[in-house]
Amino acid sequence: MKTQPIDIIEDTPLIIGKKAFSSRFLLGTGKFKSKDNLSDAIRSSDAQIVTVALRRIDLERHEDNIIEYIPENVTFLTNTSGARNADEAIRIARLAKAAGCGTWIKIEVINDSKYLLPDNNETIKATAILADEGFTVLPYMYPDLYAARELVKAGAAAVMPLGSCIGTNQGLKAKEFIQILINEIDEVPIIIDAGIGAPSQAAEAMEMGADGVLANTAIATAEKPALMAKAFAQAILAGRLAYLSKLPPAKEAAEASSPLTGFLYEHHDNVR
């Protein structure tokens, strides 16, 4: 019997602001050992959004600009790394726009140096002002439902809760609270940012119903970054397909997958 090929991937694009993306993987560009590593990782990730940071120029070292290593047609999402309050985040966002890297901003306001946790209150303030100025604002936040609602009200184009602390590779430590955001915030995509240290963790986030995953450290610090980027891309897609296929719930008691009503017992009966 001939069968027709089935197009199993019936997904809608990820829509953030006014743009639509087929990839749900956002890749960070920090910590790569070389710019060629970065370039290869972006290509093998198929990421359509990459994060970049703004820093002072080193006047003594005439370095290559990172932009030269990022493929065309990729959307830049500039982070406000280094900002300790809303005003500093706003200043960085305006500088990023003037630098010519567009108006997509990942607000990252951190004033805790040990855990690098985001300050939700300052993030909400910065989101309101920058969204009003026409920026597409993707705030990085601690997964708190009230804060997420305020961010949506303030004009955020997505909400990006942390999975666990930045750079720890600890995965979804905040899983239960992220699930609440996924369940309750319908207006904008939920993108899991920070702490995702393995493709399995990225897949888990997508199975939960996250709309996307942003990862950096796990890829950049892998021995083979391009290979790890591909692994993440496939895990994110796998998790997404599992979510779309509607995962059955976990059960307490075992339930056989093969029929047990069987010939074995009948056979014994016959022997007798």
Partner: protein, 73 residues
């Protein structure tokens, strides 16, 4: 170009730079960076747009921030 006997001092990215001639912002950035794409200049707290770099002159005591894109998560 005007040359100064006493160098002019400006603060650039948190450090003092001594200039012995009068620079436009454009000349200073071209001299300081490999390429001037994706560079933003903030002079005394105000962003100077690229088309205005040629006509903006650096003066004694100015504070200049020159930033560009780097890798980040």
């Amino acid at each position: 170009m005007v040359y100064y006997e006493i160098p002019m001092r400006i603060h650039v990215n948190g450090r003092i730079s001594e200039l012995n001639s009068s620079y436009s912002l454009h000349d200073f950035i071209t001299h300081s960076a490999k390429k001037n794409d994706f560079i933003v200049a903030e002079l005394n707290g105000h962003i100077i747009k690229k088309p205005d770099w040629e006509t903006t002159r650096l003066n004694e005591g100015d504070t200049l921030e020159l930033v560009t894109l780097y890798g980040g998560g």
